[in-house]
Each structure stands twice: as C-alpha cells, then as structure tokens.
Symmetry: C2
C-alpha cells in the first residue's frame, strides 16, 4: 500500500510541537537554569510533555482564565476550539506577566521546560470539579487532584525541554504523535481505531480491539504510562501483559502499540473526549469508547462517556467515537459477546469482579481462560505473588484475605 | 428513541414505487388482459417486482440500449446515475415504440405488470457478459442466463401489478423497502448494516452480522428468496435456518430479517454493488462484503467484490461497504476470527468444504458446533435426510457417497 493521507491533528493542519531539540534545546536549557523555579505535579508534568510532543495540538501552553472558564463551562476555548478538560498549572504565588520561569518536575527534580507568564489567576475549584468531574466528592481521585492544587494558576506559552523518563523507562512503548503517524503512513492505513488502556488487557479489551480491527485498517493500542490511583497495577506490569497478549493473539500487521505520559484524571465522559482529541493527534480516526470509560467508582453511568459524544456540536471533533457495549464471555454463545449481540441470561455469562480477580491471582487460583489469556494471567500471578510476599514481610505474619491488594 | 432520518434511496429523495394498488391496480389489470403478452423469465420477473416495490429506485422500467451499454461499460446510466448491472427484458421479436404489453411470469403464468415499449434493440451478449461477469464461460450460471435471453431487448416504463407468490410463500420474511424503512424508523436506528444471505446461516455469517451489530444500530439480515443455481439449498429451508439462528443467538432489538425476490446472477463484484444499491433503498447505510461475495466457482478473486467498491467515483453510492476478511473458528483464539484478527496457523483453524458439510449432514455425522449452531444443523440434517431418501427411491438402491447432493 502506498502513503496515505492521515487525519489532521485537532484544530490544526500540523502537529504543534513545543519540544525543543538540538541547539535551541541547549540554549533554552542553559537559560532555564537561571530562571525562577515552578515545581510541577506529576499530572502537570505529563500535560507539559503532551504539549511538547504535539499530543495536545493546537494548545501552546497552560490555559489562561478565560480559556479555563470556557473549557469548564462549555467545553470550548475562548477561540471556539473544542476542548473538554482544563490544562492548567498551579503555583503558590502569583507572578507578573512577562516573567519567564523554569518548570521542574516534583518527582525527578528535572528541568522540564520554560514558560513565559501571561497571566496569574485564582480559580473556583468547586466550579471546575462540578463541571469537569460532575462531582465535588473529595473521595473522587480527580477532584482530589484539583482540590490539592495550589492557590494560583499560571498561564502562558511553554517551551518543553524533556520527556522525562518516559523514552527510557518505556522504551519501545512510549511514542510521540509524529512516530505513530509515521507508522500509520508507512502501512498505508487510513482508518485507525484507538484503544485506551490503563489496565492489563483481558479478553474484553481484546474483543473491543478485534472488533475495531475487523472494521478498520488497524488498531492503535494506546496505554497510559503515567500515574494511576493507588492500588492499580503499575505501568511496567501492564506493558508486559499487553505486549504478551499482542504477541500471541494479534496479527502484527494490524496493530500498533504505544504509550502516552499522562496521569489518569478519572473524569469519565470528559476524559473520553480528551482521549479522542489526543488520539486524533496521534493519527487515529476512531476512538473506542466502551463501558465506564475513564470512570472510577460509581460517579458515572456506564455509558455516559458514549452519550457525551452524541451531544457534541458539528465540527467539534473529527475523530469519531466507536462505541461498544458491555462485553463478556457467554457460554451459550460460545464466544465473546456484548449486550448488543448476546440474547442470553446472566447465568450464561462470565463476570469477574476486580476483587475476585485479584484474589484468584494472588492465591494462585484458577481464573477462567474465558476471562483472560493464560499468558497474561501468568504475568499477573507473578506480580501479585511478589506483592503478597512484601505484605507478608511487612506484617510479620500471614497475609489476610485482602492483604494482597495493598501495596508497599 | 425518537424517529430518525434514514438514508435517502439511491439517486432519489423518495422510493420510486411502480406497484399499483387499489382502483389503479384494478383498472390496469383489466386493461392488461387485452394487451399482447410478453413472457418473462424468473430473473426478469424478480427484477420487475423489485422495480414495483422501489427496490430498484430510481429506475422506472427496463433499460434502453443507451443505458444498457453505458451500464455494461461504465457502471452508469446515460444520466450519469451509478448502476452496475443491466436490468433488461428480452423477447423473441421487436415491438413498435408506443405498444403496450402485458408482462407474464413464465413460472406462474400470472399477469405481473404492463410496459409501454419505448425501444426494441439487439445486444452484443458477449459484450454484456465480459463486462458484467468478467467472463464468457458458458459454464458460468449468470452468463448462461444472458446467453439464453431472446433476440430482442424491450425497454420502457413499467407498471407493476403483482409481487407473485412472495408475500404468501415467504410471509413474515418477504419485505418491501417501505416496510424495512418503517421498522428502522420506529426503532430510531440511524446506522444499519445489511447482510446478504443466499445460504443457511453458519457461524461465519453470524460473526459478520455480530461485528456489524457491535458497530452500528442494528443489522438487516436480508436473504434472497428468488432462484439459485441447481444444488443450492432451497429458500424455505434457508429461511427456517436463519430464523432459528436469529431466534436463539441474536438480540431481538438489534436485528431485522427480510427477504427479497431476486434471482442470483452470480456476478460477484458487480452484484455486490447492486446489493449495496438496493440495500440503500431498503434503508441500510452499510453493506457487508465478505469473502467471494455473490461469486461462483473460481471466477472472482476472494476479495474482488471489496476492491470494486474502492474504485467507485465520489458520490456514486451513498451506502458504504463494510468489508470483512475471511472468517473461521480458531481453536487457539478460542473463538471466531478473521485473517485480520487471528495470527495463528491453518492447523489451528476450522475450515469445512461445502462437500464435507453436505456429506456430514446427509450421513448424520457430526459437524462441529464451531462451524454451525446445533439448531441450524438439525434443520439441515432433516433436509438432507429427505433428499437422500428421494435419491434412494429413485436409484432403487443405496445412496452413493455423493448421491445426497443430487436433487429430485
């Protein structure tokens, strides 16, 4: 197949790349070392890297007050550009417009970039949370993130100087939009569906991915390699699971795997929309939205993230949703199915709670192959066995029923 | 869900319905009885009924020479309208323009309609066959049909007076485009994929249908209830198989079944295109095209019918192709899969030839459940057992290995 014309990035004919390279990088880094420091959280660092590699095209930096408010309220920038979630940076004091600052990662202390302050402003955090997360509940991990932000938001265009440890720690998985686009072009793909992953890939995820492969040129299995809430399976284990599954159960020519550096916000529907925007920047024409996409707890209805796509105005988003219903193994169907394709009863279907899965895995019990591939389960068993040992050592005794889900 | 706006019929804002009803029907039928008779083959009769119910919208009758030639050569009418296969009526003599004729079914002798002759013309049958079937081989059943046509083609607008035995013999399955559209509207469906069937529905067909259900509002399982080539399974048995499968393995709200009165032409790619046109008239937005669609023998490459859709000019056809690769059960995948989704080897996959299937069915042997659902196999076994008995009686002895595929 020849070269294909891929979907344009969001709101732009080309990727807006803010990551400096070569001599420009060298000079800006030298300059940065003398600038006043602004320390960024993990979420803010991830956002900055996405700005750097063009994942957040066409944004040029952290949002000002007018954009912030309009995004919260109407899911659009003051320019009218569709954007569903604020991309902001907080700080403990205001800074004068025109000030240049050095952006530091609080996790690694590395200089990540610079920003020229255009505006410092205070926000109504409750307003942001109600609009973005549809809740103020302090138990919601995304709400927590916002409530823990510092007093002032700093806005302005950024220059990005590092992708942190992502290119090394997630070598072969971490990918820039220019890289995924290059692969898609080389393969001559036109229609590409993105699968969002933040968990090990079980048969339900495989089913979503394979439906997408059947009806498009290929699938982009795109996993979050940033931070999750405590208790979730860490990125390196997830990467291993996904690679193993892809290796054994996918046609190589039809799949590309990649990782992106964001933290989860757990904003459900609004995050589903953000997922579609940046997948478009990575070159995808379709975004798979399944049950409880980007959700947590019971804050969102299982298909709220699908509903929100239907409510978008014309021209808001070029990347289309590929909505898929609740999926499971059905013993009567003798295969994977969804509520749309399987007419049978609950008693014929295999459902496994996260707790039952963790318990089975850590105790070395059997998880049905209809739920997850053996190769994936082996990796997870090993991981959970390791965790249990750590807990046992810490407890100087036997692990209790739920001890294995606690992390060191 | 509320009423939805369905896809427009092909080349028209509304269905072109040429079937008369009520008083108009009564008067035309009275007139028809006094007109000179033109006897139609089964294929021509099926085409006339499709013209009558709007399945061939926007055609108004049998094609004249200019349209015939342009359709053969360029897949378009002289008006520029996309149309891939000639819809013509042959007769043993020419008739003067302006003559009105009564159209009779050679199968039932029923008056099917009337036509006002606009033109009588001779055709180059070899030219038609080469263009439409890509072959002149007299073994090709579609070529045979054309070569057996009479010397003259009669063109002109038609009035249709009957749907023959289809509404009674295929009660509950035979459907007009206005009927399928009404159901789709009532269900609030917007995206509807059509599955073409001329065989009992095995798991491969079920898999195609279910992929379509996963990615659209619903599936229209649309079976040919006209004539097939000798040796194929007759329509009443197929209908029973399909109904049983749908009853047991589909979600009722996501499927509509229907039947249409055409004979198979076995024109492969070109017939795939015709299938998409009339499915659009029935209200479908997508046409599933799998392996060897509408093919016979080895006349067409397995995916020629997909290729031809990619070559259409912009605006030719509103109904989109949903192309699906070669499908099968894979024991390693533990499910249905296609060449696009299964990376395993031939030895892991279940393939069954038509001959092996017939042999297994007629001898009461086991056909794997991975190939076809038990409920469907039971119906087919009964059918083949009946056939074998007939053959045995005829032969006054034992059925030989292949005897069961011969028909009375």
């Amino acid at each position: 197949m020849g070269k294909s014309k891929l979907i344009s990035p969001h709101g732009s004919n080309e990727l807006k790349i803010l990551l400096l390279e070569g001599k420009q990088h060298e000079e800006e880094l030298k300059k940065a070392q003398k600038l006043p420091k602004v320390v960024m959280t993990s979420r803010e660092t991830g956002d900055l890297i996405m700005l750097g590699i063009g994942g957040f095209t066409p944004l040029e930096g952290f949002m000002g007050h007018e954009d912030w408010k309009s995004v919260c309220q109407n899911m659009k920038m003051s320019s009218g550009l569709f954007w569903p979630i604020p991309v902001t940076l907080s700080h403990d004091k205001k800074l004068d417009p025109g000030t240049e600052v050095c952006l530091i990662s609080d996790e690694t202390q590395e200089i990540m970039g610079t920003m020229k302050i255009s505006e410092s402003y205070k926000i109504d955090k409750e307003f942001e949370c109600k609009n973005v997360f549809s809740t103020n509940d302090p138990e919601h991990p995304g709400v927590q993130m916002v409530m823990h932000q510092k007093e002032w938001n700093l806005a302005g265009p950024v220059k990005v100087l590092s992708e942190s440890y992502f290119p090394t720690e997630f070598k072969g998985i971490y990918q820039r939009p220019s890289e995924s686009r290059k692969i898609f072009e080389e393969r001559g793909w036109k229609t590409i569906a993105a699968l969002q992953l933040r968990n090990p890939m079980h048969r339900s995820h495989e089913y979503l991915a394979k439906i997408a492969v059947e009806v498009s040129d290929g699938i982009y299995i795109h996993q979050l390699v940033g931070k999750l809430k405590p208790g979730d399976i860490p990125a390196d284990v997830r990467v291993k699971c996904i690679n193993t599954l892809v290796e054994n159960y996918f046609v190589k020519d039809r799949v590309v795997t990649g990782g992106y550096p964001l933290d989860m916000r757990y904003a459900g529907p609004r995050e589903g929309l953000l997922h579609a925007i940046f997948r478009q920047n990575f070159g995808c024409t379709h975004m798979i939205i399944g049950r409880d996409h980007a959700g947590v707890g019971n804050y969102y209805g299982p298909f709220d993230a699908q509903e929100i796509f239907f409510k978008l105005w014309d021209g808001a988003l070029e990347c289309k949703m590929l909505p898929i219903d609740w999926t499971f193994w059905c013993y009567k169907c003798g295969g994977m199915a969804s509520m749309k394709t399987c007419p049978h009863g609950k008693e014929d279907r295999l459902f496994l709670s996260g707790t039952a899965l963790r318990k089975g895995l850590s105790e070395g019990g059997d998880i049905p192959a209809e739920f997850s591939r053996k190769e994936v389960l082996d990796i997870l068993k090993e991981y959970y066995a390791g965790l249990t040992e750590k807990v046992e050592i810490k407890m100087h005794g036997h692990a209790t029923g739920d001890a294995e889900i606690k992390k060191k």
